[in-house]
Each structure stands twice: as structure tokens, then as C-alpha cells.
């Protein structure tokens, strides 16, 4: 089974965001970057698919600057076989532009399965994987929390409001991973050592111009917050009163 996983380098979820001096980007000073959490599920699923089939290759692909090499090494340490960095100074704000660049690399790669995270924690578009499925004309199932693959066919489950959709498709297919799909493994020391020697191709890419520009980036308005009504059950009537008369939600 030949599997590709598209992975992105994003700020750690613990990060407290500060706005940069240009007012259009974040201040990266002191920010720790990690493999996008949803992409961890995608890498884990790829490794499981390869293990189940008994042979094959897991290729991880990142579009980004040189700093993404570290992210690729993380996935290699988890067990992926080789990495590709599609090198660009900055990714686009327009998801279809990034999707086209990734689709260009994936096209003709003869992958059985192409995995993505459901969403990248920085731009939160939840779009690139599904767009790649469309651009490649392949079956695509987004935000899957369960997957079964056998005999060139697949069955996946995706959570919707108040239910779970079951989707059937034929391979090759593009899938995007939701939390709950699996438990990602942690890179072991041996994996980290091995990863240093695994192949990592760097290919410069030119991105198309997108149809979106950033006018402004700012912190959300702070919530007023912090009115403690009291302690213990005795404070309940005051809460009911506030919900009824002040904010009228009851």
C-alpha cells in the first residue's frame, strides 16, 4: 500500500497569540511549532494502512518554508519512509492555491490512499484535503473518524450534526482525518535516530496568486467575564435571576 500524507507545521495549541508589528500576521517570537494535531492522526492512519497491507511506503509532503523540514522529520520519526518539502516562502491565504500545489506533487504518484488532517490549526480552513480530492478527480471523504479498507475498497464514517454518515468508495481515495480515528504513536528514540537518515527531497514551487489578501489580523475582543455570584447552592437563585432578567436566556 502506497500512502501519501500532507502535513503542515503550525503553532502549538498552547500558544498565546500575539499580533506582529505589521498587523497582518502573528509575532512568532517564542512560539513553538508542531506537526498539526489532525495531521498526526493522518500519519498514524497511513502507518497502520502500510502495516496492515504488509508492504508499501508512506510519503509525507509539506508545503512551506525550510522550517517545515523539522515537521517532516517528526513524521519520519513516527515511521514514515520519506519526505518531500514543496518549498515556498509563504503558503497562500487562498486554500485552492495550496491545494493545487499539493495536487501537482501527488498527481501521478500512484498512491492508493492520500491522507490529510481535517483542518490546519493555523488557518482553520478545513478545505485543502477535500479540494485535492476534487482537483485529482478522486473519491474524497472528509473528517473521518473510522476507516476500513479491503480489496481495493473503503468504508469510512464521518460525524455530522446528530449522526454518523457511512460512506463507501473505491481506492485510490483522498481522506481527511478527524480526532478519534486512532491514537497517534509517539516517536520513539530509535525512530528519531532513524528519521535523520531518511530521504527528504526539497523541491522549490511557485504558488499561483490567490483571490484573497489579508487586510488585518487582530485579537478577538476580550470577554468582560469574571462575575462570581457566590458560593455553593445558595448562589443558584442569583444565577437564575441573572439569566432571566439580565441576559434573558431563560
Amino acid at each position: 500500500m502506497k500512502v501519501a500524507v500532507c502535513i503542515k507545521r503550525v503553532p502549538d495549541t498552547e500558544t498565546r497569540i500575539k499580533i506582529g508589528s505589521d498587523g497582518k500576521s502573528i509575532d512568532e517570537t517564542g512560539v513553538k511549532f508542531v506537526l498539526n494535531p489532525y495531521d498526526e492522526y493522518a500519519v498514524e492512519e497511513a502507518l497502520k494502512l502500510k502495516e496492515q497491507s504488509g508492504s508499501g511506503e508512506v510519503v509525507v509532503i509539506a508545503l512551506g518554508s525550510d522550517t517545515s523540514q523539522e515537521t517532516i522529520r517528526t513524521a519520519l520519526a513516527m515511521g514514515a519512509d520519506r519526505g518531500v518539502l514543496l518549498k515556498t516562502d509563504a503558503v497562500s491565504l487562498d486554500p485552492v492555491v495550496n491545494a493545487k500545489a499539493l495536487a501537482g506533487e501527488l498527481e501521478g504518484g500512484e498512491y492508493d490512499v492520500i491522507l490529510f488532517g481535517k483542518l490546519a490549526m493555523d488557518d482553520s480552513s478545513q478545505a485543502v484535503g477535500t479540494m485535492v480530492a476534487e482537483l485529482l478527480g478522486m473519491p474524497g471523504v472528509s473528517a473521518i473518524s473510522h476507516l476500513e479498507v479491503a480489496d481495493g475498497k473503503g468504508k469510512a464514517e464521518r460525524e455530522i450534526e446528530g449522526g454518523v454518515e457511512v460512506v463507501e468508495f473505491a481506492l485510490p481515495a483522498v481522506l481527511t482525518a478527524e480526532k478519534g480515528l486512532n491514537e497517534p504513536r509517539y516517536p520513539a528514540l530509535r525512530g528519531i535516530m532513524l528519521a535523520k537518515k531518511k530521504p527528504l527531497d526539497v523541491k522549490p514551487v511557485e504558488l499561483e496568486e490567490g483571490g484573497v489578501t489579508m487586510s488585518r489580523l487582530e485579537l478577538p475582543p476580550p470577554r468582560a467575564g469574571g462575575r462570581i455570584l457566590g458560593e455553593g447552592p445558595e448562589a443558584v437563585p442569583a444565577l437564575i435571576e441573572a439569566l432571566q432578567t439580565e441576559v434573558k436566556v431563560l
Binding site: T130, E134, G162, S215, G226, V236, I240
Partner: protein
């Protein structure tokens, strides 16, 4: 004059509430850049679309097929794209729901056009500016759309539906193909949950429980409060989902659902940054926690400090009394 296309969503033949919000967002957009609001809905025959005119739609395209009872990604995308290509639209607006988050990217990819996902505000004044949260809501970006058509998905519960009565003409189109052999992926069934409670992403009131509940069985206390509110859903922190006390579909936060209910009640939840990311845009936040230093109190409009096991039964009782049920 180019218009705005609102993509509506139906379930079991009824328009979902988000469809009215999408129409309202589309009307706002159209009033700033000109043109009329047209709408499209894809589904099985017999969808009840009576309310479309009331929320500002002037033309409605209903694309139906016997096999469209469930969301079928490819034929649904094909139907919308077909409409965009045969009409003239500056923007396609849809809801950032489970369906919209899948359908929006497909439409944008097929049209090779920009997508602004999960918008919380749209400003139209000659051009189009979209506000959308980045970094899981820790920052807000204002994007300028520089090429049209564009696709914009709007966060549910953010654009308050406003009546705007119009005369609507309806055109019903029989889709040539259902999910047939040419379709690459097919939705075969939707498994319904055992409980009939609402989904966290759709409820007006969300009561979420965290590790403070101590064990899975104690979620009964949360469920009782949810039932007392009515129109409410059970939510959960990641800690209790990972512990297996609640399904992932209940999880609120950065790796769960983003919710903006009228009222969010956090019970025995500390308020980690990843949890706050999923609920900080709720209209009113209430926190119950025994630790008065818990970070959740910093975002809560109202807090009660104390033991949830003492507070919850009393709260449930008082809510029942207040609602007179």
C-alpha cells in the same frame, strides 16, 4: 447584474435553521454589492421551502432526486457548480456545517475560486471583506476578496436570521443523475445516535461537563440539567472524551466542535486554552467550579464557586421551576 447564491441545507425534507442565517448573510452581502439573492437547495423531492421568500430569496432552484435523501458530496457539488456556471454570481454563501465544510471546498475547487471558510462577519461595500477566526479563534482576520466568484461559508448561530419578505419564484430541477456509477464516493446510511438529544453545534443551550464530574455515571447530573433547559445539548471537555466517558461528538474545543450557543454552562471544567477556543464566542457563559482560580472564570459572565455535586441538583430544580415545566 450579478447576484449572490445562497446554498441552503435541508434534513428530512425540512430546511435547517442555518439556511435562514445563510439567506440573511447573503442579503447583507447583496445589499452592499448589488444584485439579488438567489437560493439553491439540493435534496429529495418534496422539500418544504416556504420560508425562503420570507428571508430574502427572490429566486429558488430546487434540485431533486430520489437518491438525495442523504448528503451525496459529488452530485450536490455538481448541482451547485452547474447553477453558478449558468448564472452570474459574485459570491456563493453556505453554512459552515458538517455538510457545508465538505461542500464549500468542492465548489471552490471545481470553480478554482477563493474560499473564505467559517466567516463570522461579512462586510460588503463595493468590495467584499470577510472576518474569519484563525488559530482556533485566538485571532480574527479580515480578508479582502480580490477575485470573484468566491465561496463563503458562515459560522452557524453567528448571523442572526432576519425576515426580509420577497416574492420568490421557484424552479424545480430534476437532477439527471443520482449517486450513480460515475460517482466516486457514496453516502450509504446515516447512523442515528441512541439518544434523541440535540447536537452541541446546533443547540441554543450547551451544558458541558469536565473531569470535575469524577466519573462517567455522574454525567446523569449534566443530562438532567440539559433536559430541564430543553433545546439543550450535552457537551464535554477533551479530558472526559479521552477517558471514554463521552463520545467525541460531544467534545467542545480546538480538537472538537466550535459552538456559539445563547448559553454555555461549563461544569467542572478548568478552562484550558484549547477548550476556550471552542466556546468563547457563546453569548452567555456560566461556570461552576470548586476552584475560584480556575481560568474558566476569566471568560464566564457568571460564576458559582463550589462543589458541583451540591450545586447541580439545586440548579436543575430551579431551572425547571423557572421554565414552569
Amino acid at each position: 447584474m450579478p447576484g449572490v447564491l445562497a446554498v441552503l441545507e435541508q434534513r428530512d425534507g425540512a430546511l435547517k435553521k442555518v439556511s435562514h442565517e445563510v439567506l440573511t448573510a447573503a442579503c447583507g452581502l447583496a445589499s452592499g454589492i448589488g444584485g439579488a439573492v438567489e437560493a439553491i437547495v439540493v435534496g429529495p423531492p418534496g422539500i418544504d421551502t416556504d420560508s425562503v421568500g420570507a428571508f430574502g430569496g427572490e429566486k429558488l432552484f430546487v434540485v431533486t432526486h430520489e437518491d438525495f435523501k442523504l448528503y451525496q458530496p459529488e452530485p450536490y457539488a455538481a448541482a451547485v457548480v452547474e447553477r453558478v456556471k449558468s448564472g452570474d454570481y459574485t459570491a456563493v454563501v453556505l453554512g459552515a456545517t458538517a455538510m457545508g465544510k465538505d461542500l464549500g471546498p468542492r465548489i471552490a475547487a471545481r470553480l478554482a475560486c477563493p474560499l473564505a471558510a467559517d466567516a463570522t462577519a461579512i462586510e460588503a461595500n463595493g468590495g467584499i471583506k470577510v472576518t474569519r477566526p484563525l488559530y482556533s479563534g485566538k485571532a480574527l482576520s479580515e480578508l479582502t476578496i480580490t477575485s470573484t466568484p468566491c465561496v463563503i461559508s458562515v459560522r452557524p448561530n453567528t448571523f442572526t436570521a432576519k425576515e426580509n419578505a420577497r416574492e420568490v419564484s421557484v424552479e424545480v430541477i430534476q437532477a439527471p443523475d443520482g449517486p450513480n456509477a460515475a460517482v466516486r464516493a457514496r453516502t450509504v446510511v446515516v447512523k442515528e445516535p441512541e439518544t434523541a438529544r440535540l447536537d452541541v453545534a446546533e443547540a441554543a443551550v450547551v451544558v458541558s461537563g469536565g473531569r470535575g464530574l469524577k466519573e462517567s455515571e455522574n454525567f446523569k447530573l449534566v443530562e438532567d440539567l440539559v433536559d430541564a433547559f430543553g433545546n439543550a445539548a450535552v457537551g464535554a471537555s477533551r479530558a472526559v472524551v479521552d477517558a471514554g466517558w463521552r463520545p467525541h461528538s460531544d467534545q467542545v474545543g480546538q480538537t472538537g466542535k466550535t459552538v456559539s450557543p445563547q448559553l454555555y454552562v461549563a461544569i467542572g471544567i478548568s478552562g484550558a486554552i484549547q477548550h476556550l477556543a471552542g466556546m468563547r464566542t457563546s453569548r452567555v457563559i456560566v461556570a461552576i467550579n470548586k476552584d475560584k482560580e480556575a481560568p474558566i472564570f476569566k471568560v464566564a459572565d457568571y460564576g458559582i464557586v463550589g462543589d458541583l455535586f451540591e450545586i447541580l441538583p439545586r440548579l436543575t430544580e430551579e431551572v425547571i421551576k423557572a421554565r414552569g415545566t
